[in-house]
Assembly symmetry: C2
Homo-oligomer: 300 residues x 2
């Protein structure tokens, strides 16, 4: 299961029961947190997402609505006796900010905290499940999007075919990894005779805060799902430009040009008390657009 759960979908000022940016990317039971606006730890409780299952946190930029909840989450994890290593990725000087606040509270964390500064497009994590990369976006301050690429899954065993070729069950796992099988009499059974191709790993990208910028396209091209901010409706194009944000139609245009399968939109301005118009406008350009709603889990 590869999914994204929205914890906050509002822009800078909380309003209308919408919270600042945070979302949880979940793959096979591990939670990766993307941004951590104020109140994220409370939203995690509200939506019953286990804080202890978070191993990596990715902070796009140091505007408060994207990271003011980080120090509270770290402090609470420590008070709750968290043991596992926690990796946090974000622009400098995130480490100084967190360390200063821990120091004045005389807090000794009970788990290892590693804060990694990011400063350019890079691979941040590469394990047996997925690869996480960051890429710069075009915002008023240094800002990064994050792409999550699931590793290619094993090939699918065709059990009837494997039996037909008299391959022992103990060899099935190696078949799924792509190996051929050689019988005792030397006869070769080619892998593709007894397995089917695996599904390719799925891909999701969080495009952070950004004005309309086509330099994002190579980082998200053909993705299964992307999240792109739409702070404003189309009528406030000029304000969006001025404040390094995007409109509905700009987000949808990026999705269209990148050839992605699905677009989630969020980071709605507190100017708007209802969101229907965001969906309507985005769908005019890109039909597979959907509102990123708090508490909802979207499968990649």
């Amino acid at each position: 299961m590869f999914s994204v759960t929205i914890l906050g979908n509002n822009s800078a000022v909380p309003a209308f029961d919408r919270h600042p940016t945070s979302q949880v990317v979940t793959l096979d039971g591990t939670n990766y947190l993307v941004d951590c606006g104020e109140g994220t730890q409370i939203q995690l409780i509200n939506y019953k997402i286990r804080r202890s299952r978070i191993s990596h946190i990715f902070i796009s930029h140091l505007h408060g609505d994207h990271y003011f909840g980080l120090i509270g989450l770290i402090s609470s994890l420590s008070l709750l006796g968290h043991q596992q290593v926690l990796h946090v990725f974000g622009p400098a000087p995130l480490r100084d900010i967190i360390e200063m606040q821990l120091k004045v509270a005389d807090t000794q964390l009970c788990f290892p905290l590693h804060i990694h500064h990011i400063s350019e497009a890079a691979t941040l994590l590469d394990n047996d499940k997925l690869t996480v990369k960051c890429f710069p976006t075009n915002h008023r301050v240094e800002c990064y999007g994050f792409s999550f690429t699931q590793k290619k899954l094993p090939r699918k065993l065709l059990p009837e075919k494997a039996k037909e070729h008299e391959i022992p069950a103990v060899f099935y796992e190696r078949l799924c990894k792509g190996e051929d099988y050689t019988k005792k009499d030397g006869e070769l059974v080619k892998n593709e005779w007894v397995t089917a191709p695996s599904d390719p790993g799925k891909r999701y990208a969080f495009c952070a805060d950004t004005k309309y910028d086509e330099t994002l396209l190579p980082h998200i091209n053909g993705f299964d799902m992307i999240y792109h901010e739409t702070t404003y409706l189309d009528h406030l194009r000029e304000r969006a430009e001025l404040r390094f944000h995007s409109t509905t139609k700009q987000a949808a245009t990026i999705a269209l040009k990148a050839g992605v399968k699905k677009l989630l939109i969020g980071h709605f301005s507190s100017k708007y008390d209802t969101l229907e118009e965001f969906e309507t406008e985005a769908k005019e350009v890109f039909p597979d657009a959907e509102l990123a709603l708090e508490g909802v889990c979207y499968e990649v």
Copy 2:
């Protein structure tokens, strides 16, 4: 109207829909915020308390559950176009922490922010409505309680008596301020003949985080209402001592010895999912004890 509205009544880790410490002291339409745990700005919205009416914020100490929401509230006030001066009082290095976070976000506040460091018992504010003082409490880090003393109200006019003495209505305001009246023929009308004594100004104290400590008593003696933390029930006396917190019975004993009229208890540990036992235990020692419940407004 002199009242206290509770925004958060839990100790360090949010749980059971209880939030970290924050409360609003309201006197004649002005809001004074005491502590500002994470999510305070969202609680202010939830309980329809106007952020723009906050002129002074008092931070007891730099454990995160008492101040992590401050930077978010300040940022939001600025984004909302707040104009009035905001005074914040708290232990050093609060100013450095706030300024660092504003700087990295490249935020220019649109209102004057004055952060005043407190380091000993002192008068922090003295206007025509009230006096606010701070006093040290006994916690693991430097920590202060705050007392709010309403200024003595005007004397009460006795209209029948004033008419009897043929005092013109235009002089009534001066009577309420305590002046005598001299008739045209030189006859003196003594103030106490035509006015009744005013109610004395009411007094409220927030006793912050603290272990049981009788040195608090002189600062809260005879108060109308105090808030005292009760992180633990009586069975965890030793843990309370170790962590510089108080139990139900200790909070109630302080209220009893200080001869206050009413005790509010809060800062409940996340160990406890229900709170009835806190009230029961406190009342065994001090009957006028009440739970500080979120969203509830307590008149002083």
